[in-house]
Symmetry: C2
Subunit: 412 residues, 2 copies
DNA sequence: ACTTCTTTTTTCGAGCGTTGAAAAAATGCT
DNA sequence: AGCATTTTTTCAACGCTCGAAAAAAGAAGT
């Protein structure tokens, strides 16, 4: 059992975490509302919020809204103290890079966007590369530097078991160079790596309140194929190795050549390069293009929508691979909702017949019925949102909820 | 968040659960040993064990072993009070049925074994059927009746979302008849359903101390193909829908006909009937035999071991299906160990080349290396053991750890 | 037979966080 | 100004854990 002893310390941690979590999820709240949301007594909420205020994590907000009923003592809202902490969020793509500096209130302070310089990691160690960018960001907002608590990085590929680096990555020269510890040293903050697929799942929860505590599989379809799954609101999978390799699940033995070098991966049928390859009748075993211009992919979707046979065929093939992949996933884990995000979500209706056909051929769907497959158009937002909320929640629970009571420090 | 408020009550529950769990895992222990195992202080162990003794759950055992060092005050072991509770464990197979009455100490009190009467559920509701058998058992051990707390049933098939019955089952006329509540009424105890695959995973943990807190996938190969997965010692998957449908994961679209009626399931290539079908060149689409005599399957294994081409071919085909199934599972969840249990485990070496070949074709294995695939010959034992330990742990945690403190009751 | 040593177990007071009930605070309504 | 209403704080009590010290139970030494 991984379970540990419970004592007054863990009780405090748990309940303070509860309060911070409620604030995170529902925004600034009155103490009465917090009592209702968390299930704690008013007395406890008072004690806890005094504690949190004394530690500078939350503050009373100037009462604002008369909100309907106006009798009685007006509620004072408590909300996060923005300057209590900061985090640097890094979204790394094969060809783009985005750094965001956010505060403890979840507000974007500054942002740095750029192309991903080709081949940087051949000469510059990843830790130095990231540290430089973070440095730039902090120089522009010097007030954030002392309270920087996290550097959270969205990556693609396979993490090593300790979560210190990548064992495989589509970004050149990044795999096999554990950089987390060195970067933590340079940045003076905890560094966390997150698989993109997993963040999609996390982001989907926060963006759609209906999904918050549901079991959801979020599938990204675009330049790659990735999936994150959540189980009743908990992101599933080893926290370290993180997430799934859905895109590289085998679809057909000895099948189409994938960017990863293997054959028959779902990605090799359903990613943008794969659909184009099929549409233009290029041989399956032809090495995939490094990148596909977004407009070329969009154009193909349009052609298919207008009835072009070879384009339609390409999306059917993609749908078939996705459908069987999903049906195989369902045999192991069946979520109540399946979200398709990314550029490929615009082609969902083109792929749906084949997806449904493949799903219908499985026992699980025969018995439980077809799961709902829904398209969420935007994918940038879920990734950022997932990274943001996961990182802030991490600070809440691991750094702040465990802080010793302020009553002590005051007394001494 | 599913998390709830923590107070002194949950602290007591947690720590009493910890003590009971340590006793469950390590057997009777001295108080000092319990303190070491749980991490609780000696003072707390004294308080908790007094409480548990007062409630009749554990008792001091007559000191026995001088066990090496003999100086100092001899330890008195505390161990479960066997009569504190009883559970009826039912292992239901397509053609056999086994009921076991066990006590709180995990000791087998009585057992009833029989053929599974063909087609009973067409006329007799499942709850009545099971209640009758349990009745028989209790009449033979009347002392168990008042303390019967659980009826735990090992089933195959797909559970409904509430865990009240089966949505699909290989046992005729059992699906679609939720019987859990009625049986609970009749038996006067909580009734729990457990997927066989999941119990295998649970049982494997208890039988092999090395695996206790590892991530393991346990695959049953025999008259069906099933899998249970555990994640760092926690059985994975929704507690309700429970476990995986690995056997009915699609292997090849439009492939061999499976017993479930679908086509291309792994089971349709790797279960006993499937291997025989392949070996004797029967068409893939021929409806599977209802049952295969064990000796026939064993004979085929032997023929293959002696070099018979068509038998070898059949196991290669089975290995290929299993291998790709495992590789697809690994894309979603990769455990550190893979256990093969059941009759098919005797054929593991025949299937291994194909399994390894299929695994090697996946990115995850390319990066992480091939997982260890190990055979555990016996499968009856893991299922019973899994059912036993899971049920007793359930009683420990849900019934007894939550009991109010005995100090109260005594005072009044 | 008695003391000393060692190890296990219990006792005791203190600390901490929660709770329900009652009090206090803050404002609108009459 | 006084009353009603709603939010927030205060207070004493409770239950659990913990560390330290004491008690218990033999074994070994003299």
């Amino acid at each position: 059992m991984t379970r540990t002893v419970s004592d007054s310390d863990s009780v405090r941690r748990q309940n303070r975490g509860l309060v911070l979590g409620a604030l995170r999820l529902h925004g600034s709240q009155s103490r009465t509302a917090l009592a209702a949301l968390t299930g704690l007594s008013h007395a406890s909420i008072t004690a806890i919020s005094q504690d949190l205020v004394a530690q500078g994590l939350v503050q009373d907000l100037p009462a604002e809204r008369p909100d309907g009923r106006s009798r009685g003592r007006p509620a004072t809202l408590v909300g996060f103290t923005r300057r209590a902490a900061h985090a640097a969020l890094i979204e790394m793509d094969v060809n783009r890079l985005r750094l965001s500096l956010v505060d403890y209130g979840g507000v974007l302070v500054d942002r740095l966007e750029s192309e991903m310089p080709v081949g940087v990691f051949a000469t510059l160690p990843p830790d130095r590369f990231f540290a430089q960018r973070i440095q730039t960001l902090l120089e522009r907002s010097p007030e954030a530097a002392p309270t920087l608590r996290r550097v959270a990085i969205s990556v693609q590929g396979i993490l090593d078991s300790a979560g210190r680096g990548l064992k495989w990555s589509p970004v050149a020269d990044l795999a096999g160079k554990p950089f987390v510890e060195d970067l933590a040293q340079l940045a003076g903050a905890t560094v966390t790596l997150h698989k993109r697929g997993r963040l999609l799942a996390e982001g989907a929860r926060w963006l759609d309140p209906d999904l918050f505590d549901k079991s959801v599989a979020t599938v990204f379809v675009g330049s790659t194929v990735a999936m994150g799954v959540s189980f009743r609101g908990q992101a599933l999978g080893r926290e370290d190795s993180g997430g799934t390799e859905f895109g590289h699940m085998n679809h057909a033995p000895e099948g189409a050549l994938c960017r990863c070098g293997m054959r028959g991966c779902i990605e090799a049928y359903a990613a943008d390069y794969a659909v184009l390859r099929t549409a233009y009748s290029v041989r399956e075993t032809t090495p995939p293009a490094a990148t596909v211009p977004p407009e070329q992919y969009r154009a193909l979707i349009q052609r298919a929508q207008l009835g072009d046979r070879s384009a339609i065929h390409a999306f059917n093939t993609a749908g078939c691979a996705l459908g069987y992949g999903l049906s195989r996933m369902l045999a192991i884990y069946d979520p109540s909702h399946i979200l398709i995000v990314g550029p490929g979500s615009h082609a969902l209706e083109l792929m749906r017949p084949e997806i449904d056909r493949a799903l219908a051929a499985s026992l699980v769907c025969q018995v439980n019925g077809l799961p709902q497959v829904i398209a969420h158009r935007d994918e940038k937002e879920p990734i950022f949102r997932g990274l943001l909320m996961k990182t802030l929640a991490d600070i809440d629970q691991n750094d702040f909820a465990g802080l010793p009571s302020a009553a002590r420090a005051e007394a001494s």
